[in-house]
Symmetry: C2
Subunit: 214 residues, 2 copies
């Protein structure tokens, strides 16, 4: 499958590496493709991935991943040619957070970025996932002391299944992915960012994840 | 230790049972003590706990636990005699949530009930804990398939230590309690309510908890 990843930062390139490792093709989309190829994370991809404009990437991808900063994602998507995303699964991995004096603040409290994205590009099938853990965990989903969890939220059940399948390709074991349901359920993983932030500070590392245990 | 628990619902009575089991004394505080003794949860305590007014309980307790609904906790505490709480550890277990058409809404988004309580009763030492799991888990912290986590937040380190010690008494194993730091860190566990709610719906049970895995 040809996956377009919007963004050239650590999340974009970590996901790219996992997808390449599973045999998928990847294209990266950047605001400035010419300068993005010089970024450290893109260099680590070893020239195996082309960097094109955001619009060109979105048009090329069979599936599109948002790995741009959540604080500017909605504006970025509105600027894209809407036709590029029509009918496609759009995977949103971002946290829409600004940092205030007292710590992080959610941009969409009691709502979610994922819902805003679904409203902005109604003809795409938005699925939220992978926003609840750092790239250290995305790069090595089974590298912790025990199994941990990932979540998917989206209004289209087939889109959630496709994303779950891609997560398995990226190393998430069969029982690790929890289907939370419709796109409004993305409020859960997005609000969890506040606990993620507090845990990262308390533990002194971002290499951790939560497991849902029954 | 004599622990006053404000509230007579499932959380109040579950915590009462665990504390009694560890050898502590408990008194319950109710708006209407006369009618509260007839409530199912209070009956299950088998007459081992006296039910008095909220003010009388707060005055009597060496440690005070808030197990009243989070949506009205601040007003309830302001109505108490402030002297009753002066210098005491006040454990807050509540979630300040209202239910809208689209699901639960946090009353203090990008803030926390715990911080509001600390502002309302500045001479108490507020510690947030136990708001991240259902009473089924509070009643049996080691009854799941594997170890899970509890959190403490509060500005006074000694108060956090005392609450951690009470959690151990209530059955939480040594490594299960994560100290998140100051009272503003309660934003994490309080925002987690949105994910708790979504997980409960997706899993079809409230008998689950999260484990932080490194």
């Amino acid at each position: 499958m040809l996956v377009a990843i919007l963004g050239t930062g650590s999340v974009a390139c970590t996901i790219a590496l996992r997808l390449l490792g599973a045999g998928h093709e990847v294209v990266l989309g950047a605001r400035n493709p010419a300068t993005a190829t010089d970024r450290d994370w893109v260099r680590e991809l070893g020239g195996k991935v082309e960097v094109v404009s955001l619009s060109a990437a979105a048009s090329a991808g069979e599936v599109v991943v948002n790995a741009t900063p959540g604080s500017t994602t909605v504006e970025m998507l509105i600027d894209l040619d809407a036709a590029a995303l029509t009918g496609k699964v759009l995977i949103d991995t971002a946290n829409a957070v600004v940092f205030g004096e007292s710590g992080p603040l959610l941009m969409y409290p009691n709502g979610s970025l994922a819902e805003r994205i679904q409203q902005a590009v109604p003809r795409a099938k938005v699925v939220k996932t992978l926003n609840t853990m750092n790239t250290a965990v995305q790069a090595d989903p089974t590298g912790m002391a025990g199994p941990t969890s990932a979540f998917v939220s989206g209004d289209d059940p087939e889109a959630r299944s496709l994303v779950t399948s891609l997560l398995h390709d990226m190393g998430w074991p069969p029982d690790s992915v929890i289907d939370l349901g419709g796109i409004a359920s993305a409020r859960g993983p997005e609000h969890y960012f506040m606990l993620f932030f507090g845990l990262a500070r308390a533990l002194g590392t971002r290499r951790f994840n939560i497991a849902v245990v029954r």
